[in-house]
Amino acid sequence: MDIRHTPTVCPYCGCGCGLTLETAEGRVLRAIPTADAPVNRGRLCVKGWNVHDFVQHPDRLTRPLLREDRETRPLDWESALDLAARELHRIRDAYGPDSIGILTSARCTNEENYLLQKFARCAVGTHNIDHCARL
């Protein structure tokens, strides 16, 4: 096993603990606290110590899924993105850009959040962008 260590940040609460993911053969073996992380200094809570288990859970979504009536069927990425763009285009053309709303995520990175609000304001042309900070 080629064990690798990647220091990163815990995805749960707003503490922002440094944790290191130990990976091998495409799996996360375990999560361990990053020794010199400023928030947690080598400690973690029970959620942090167990964070690896959800990353590779068999329930993870691995393919785009299209719901038609009651059925869902998998799509490849290209068709899924084409379909999404087509639908959003259609709705924007028919009802205007403010007919589309976007919820970005307090779980995702700054870069992803930035891109999504830029997408809203440029690709769609609306300020209808929000997230669940209120919760």
Partner: protein, 524 residues
């Protein structure tokens, strides 16, 4: 937060309000308890007897929803005894007379009557907070998730300013963020009224600047908040939604209402790592990349920007950034497949608060914003010399009672929050075997007196219902909750407590009143 986490260990007096930190923010809880063990004075204001409250020197067990009376009452005691900081008030604040007017009615007697906190505790807490050399306020969603959440925050700010307990190490008013990157998604302009770095979307000059930077004319119509989006879906004016990594069907109040709204969308696109009750409604669901598969940055409660590094390739083959970029390009606004580091450089160029940062620099050290240039060390502490607006403005607030209080039909008050081993809607934690074993189903905490009156035994199955919905739960009898109140965690998709909560919100922040609604519990 105005001050960094480490600062908590420099406080002489810690006032923790509406925060179950040992559960919800363990590394803050750790610091609070450590400071307490080392001789710090700990005051906890919470209706529940949490672990922190058990350890506290003073537990102010206020009636739910009486934060403003409690802190107005404390301020009146402080002022009457001359414990306030006259110099700070004169040099750093304005509108002090308004505060005096607001606290005038809150005599110790009136405060005790409204909050249920005995007078001697009020006096001791007021003195400890005001006269300690450095006192810090830490608060969380127990303060904000009320219809008067903004008032609850402002009354804490009034208290800190009255005593001059701000702008120095070990002081400050410190909100704890509930999610890993709430701070970041706000900073990044994931808000209808702000561009990245809190630059106002209703300012034409700001819009013009972003139009130039992005090479795209900017919309001028105001945007909708998430709540308004749900209303607009109901009304039919909003036709499509894109939801990235959120689960509003479980996390939002009055869940049935949310479900109906989303069902009306002509097109609902979800991006998530797991199937959720929200993705079930989506026309198209794209598989998301988890944090372990993502490269970028998160910003914590301290405004500390830290590097998130990719440990595994995206499980479904594409990073979230790449998905957004490709979708944008298909929509006619080309986004090149820039790396997260390049995207971050773009962010920093457009966001004065972060201008001095880059992935390369963050790889060496984490930085708290504001960090205006490459040599700036970041700013763990805010408001040292001046407030953002110049002088601190006293608010002086009146009490707004909760929207829905118990009555004959729904005689108990429901408080919601988090359990020790689960997190939010449980999408992640419930898939971790040990965490799920710890808390496999919804348990509602109930006072022994209430349980006896209802003939419920510990572990009994019960139905918990409000005017909006009902869930099945097991009863956990504990006097950690006050009589007349029940507490339920929100993690369980099969028993979503937010079916029960009211959609009443704070008029300014739009935060729902999750902490208070009227319910009844029945044996099944």
């Amino acid at each position: 937060m105005t001050n960094p986490f480490d600062d908590l260990e420099r406080s002489d007096c810690l006032l923790v309000v509406g925060s179950n930190a040992t559960v919800a923010h363990p590394m803050v809880g750790m610091r609070l308890l450590r400071r307490k063990r080392a001789g710090g004075f700990l005051i906890v204001a919470d209706p529940r007897r949490t672990t922190l409250a058990e350890q506290a020197d003073i537990h102010l067990r206020l009636r739910p929803g009486t934060d403003v009376p409690l802190f107005n009452g404390l301020m009146r005691i402080i002022h009457d005894n001359g414990w306030h900081n006259r110099e700070f008030i004169e040099t750093r604040t304005e509108n002090f007379p308004a505060l005096l007017d607001a606290i005038a009615p809150w005599t110790p007697e009136a405060t005790e009557a409204a909050t249920g906190v005995p007078r001697d505790l009020l006096f001791r807490a007021a003195e400890a907070y005001a006269v300690s050399a450095a006192s810090s306020i830490v608060y969380c969603l127990g303060v904000t998730q009320h219809r008067c959440g903004v008032n609850n925050v402002r009354v804490l700010a009034d208290l800190a300013m009255l005593c001059g307990q701000i702008g120095r190490p070990g002081t400050g008013v410190n909100p704890l963020r509930g999610q890993n990157n709430v701070q970041g998604s706000c900073d990044m302009g994931g808000l209808p009224d702000y561009y990245p770095g809190y630059q106002k979307a209703d300012d034409p000059a700001v819009r013009e600047a972003f139009a130039r930077a992005w090479g795209c004319p900017q919309p001028s119509t105001p945007g909708l908040t998430s709540l308004e989006m749900m209303e607009a879906l109901h009304k039919g004016t909003l036709k499509a939604m894109i939801i990235l990594g959120e689960n509003p069907v479980v996390s939002d109040p009055d869940a049935n209402h949310v479900r109906q709204a989303l069902s009306k969308a002509e097109f609902l696109l979800c991006i998530d790592i797991f199937p959720t009750p929200t993705t079930e409604l989506a026309h198209l669901t794209l598989p998301g990349a988890s944090f372990a598969e993502s490269e970028g940055t998160f910003t914590n409660s301290e405004r500390r920007v830290q590097r998130v590094r990719q440990a595994l390739p995206p499980l479904a083959g594409r990073s979230n950034s790449r998905v957004i970029q490709e979708l944008s390009t298909r929509m006619g606004y080309p986004m090149p497949p820039d790396s997260p580091a390049a995207v971050f450089d773009e962010i920093c160029a457009l966001t004065p608060l972060l201008r001095g940062m880059s992935h390369e620099r963050l790889d060496r050290e984490s930085l708290c914003w504001p960090c205006p240039d490459k040599n700036h060390p970041g700013a763990p502490m805010l408001h040292a010399d001046r407030f953002t607006r110049g002088k601190g403005l006293f608010a002086g607030l009146a009490h707004v009672p909760p929207a829905e209080l118990p009555d004959a039909e729904y005689p108990l008050l429901l408080n919601t929050g988090m359990g020790h081993s689960q997190y939010l809607t449980g999408t992640m934690t419930r898939r971790c075997p040990m965490l799920e074993r710890e808390m496999p189903h919804l348990e509602v905490d109930m006072h022994p007196d209430d349980a006896r009156a209802l003939g419920l035994r510990n572990g009994a199955r019960a139905r918990l219902s409000s005017r909006r919905g009902a869930v099945a739960a097991r009863v956990h009898i504990t006097d950690a909750v006050p009589a007349g109140t029940v507490f339920a965690p929100l993690h369980f998709a099969e028993a979503p407590v937010n079916l029960l909560t009211s959609a009443e919100r704070d008029p300014v922040s739009k935060t729902p009143e999750f902490k208070i609604c009227a319910v009844r519990v029945e044996k099944v």
